[in-house]
């Protein structure tokens, strides 16, 4: 299944705006374009996406709740059959907004929370009171029947607090707790020395997170990092090996530029002018991501077939080569015999 080539992405991660009311230490899009597609043009782009066969869109940014037309765009998308979700910091999400999101067709909303400790989260996000508002947002979403999740970017401020993060998620009855691996993009690159973990620390984190995933009931703990294949923990039901970016999902920026994922700054087309299926099929960049070649310690590694070199975005950001071993990999530096 590693070479599965779909006719179109299953999911689009769509940064419809890059404006934000927060100042997060790991923000990947702070320096992105602030050009935005007009609503009418955006609608025609959404129609293109539907026609191509895409199942779902996840709106992000920036903070999508700052987009003045978010509700209309979501209603238009869900009306065409797309499954609509969003990632938000929760600051602007009160009960009335939750009702409006429900009416616009949102089925799932993820709220970013980076620590169980309010003071740690607030400092990291740059806004006092943001932790309390994020938790309140979860409560409002649950009240109106929207499935909730917590998204936590794992870094030095939270890597040893798995139990506490799980307890917070259980207490607020979210369906899913997403532990996202740390990417070295945008401010994540600028602050990587302060925030990123060493390979050995990643190993410890994932060992403990996988143990929690296997034992905690009533909560789906999601680990999206391909390198957990080193711990024999990759989802056997996944359609593809390695990263899903460019294989199952695609990223669209606020100006319509398409990139393999939100953390790889290589533009492969623009949804306004280009045919999505054509780009998906013919992109040289996507082809390279789908057919990675082992280099360095990946060569001969017994886990390569499942891991495929780990996170392509991270390898590219830190080495300049998609095929380089994931810098988070704790495997032996010597190629396996």
């Amino acid at each position: 299944m590693s070479n599965l080539q779909l006719k179109a992405p299953l999911t689009i991660n769509w940064a419809i705006n890059n404006s934000c009311n927060f100042a997060c230490s790991h923000c990947y899009s702070r320096e992105d374009t602030h050009d935005e597609i007009s609503r009418d043009v955006l609608y025609s782009c959404i129609e293109k996406v539907v026609k191509a066969g895409v199942f779902s869109v996840n709106f992000g940014g920036g903070e999508p709740l700052l987009h003045p037309d978010l509700l209309d765009i979501a209603a238009f998308s869900s009306g065409l059959g797309l499954r609509v979700s969003m990632n938000s910091n929760g600051w602007l999400l009160d009960y009335d907004k939750a009702v409006a999101l429900k009416n616009a067709g949102f089925t799932k909303v993820g709220i970013s929370i980076d620590s169980h400790l309010p003071e740690v989260h607030d400092k990291f996000r740059g806004v006092a009171g943001s932790h309390a508002r994020a938790l309140a947002a979860l409560k409002h979403l649950k009240a109106v029947g929207i499935t909730t999740s917590i998204s936590t970017v794992i870094c030095r401020i939270n890597c040893s607090t798995i139990d506490e993060l799980v307890a917070m998620a259980l207490e607020h009855e979210v369906g899913q707790l997403n532990f996202h691996n740390f990417k070295c993009s945008g401010l994540g690159m600028s602050n990587k020395d302060e925030l990123d973990l060493t390979p050995e620390e990643w190993k410890v984190f994932y060992r403990d997170a996988i143990a929690a995933k296997r034992t905690v009931k009533n909560l789906d703990i999601s680990l999206d990092d391909p390198i957990i294949a080193l711990l024999d923990a990759r989802d056997a039901g996944s359609l593809v090996k390695g990263s899903v970016c460019g294989k199952l999902s695609l990223n669209i920026k606020s100006n319509g530029d398409m990139t393999p994922c939100g953390f790889i700054p290589i533009v492969i087309g623009n949804i306004v002018r280009d045919d999505l299926q054509q780009v998906w099929k013919d992109s040289v960049v996507l082809d390279k991501m789908r057919n990675k070649q082992p280099t360095g310690k990946c060569s001969g590694c017994s886990k390569y077939e499942d891991c495929l070199g780990g996170c392509t975005a991270r390898a590219l950001a830190l080495t300049g080569d998609m095929n380089s071993p994931d810098p988070h990999c704790w495997g032996s530096d010597a190629p396996a015999k």
Binding site: K7, L10, S56, R83, Q176, G237, S238
Partner: protein, 94 residues
């Protein structure tokens, strides 16, 4: 006998609009439900499309006219496939 229905929450699409999928193992369609995904070959998608309120007996009868195969073998294959779809929540019985 109970009837088989596709779960309406499952999104699905054919992958074979413009390419031949004559190979038995080629991916002909994708089912998608939240975080759960499944790829189907041509036989799988044909069976999936028949989960529209037909009974297993009706499905077996229809497919017996298409395949030169022992009925018990076909019934067993169909039941195994439906069991896996049911376990993933992709179909329901009424």
């Amino acid at each position: 006998m109970s009837k088989v229905f596709r779960n309406p929450d499952v999104l699905w699409r054919r992958e074979s609009d413009d390419s031949d999928v004559s190979q038995e193992e080629a991916v002909a369609a994708i089912l998608f439900s939240g975080g759960s995904m499944l790829s189907l070959n041509e036989f799988g998608i044909e069976l999936w499309e028949m989960c529209d309120g037909q009974t297993v007996d009706e499905i077996v009868t229809t497919l017996m006219s298409e395949f030169e195969v022992d009925e018990d073998v076909l019934r067993s294959d169909i039941q195994d496939f439906l069991n896996s779809l049911f376990q993933k929540g992709f179909i329901r019985y009424e």
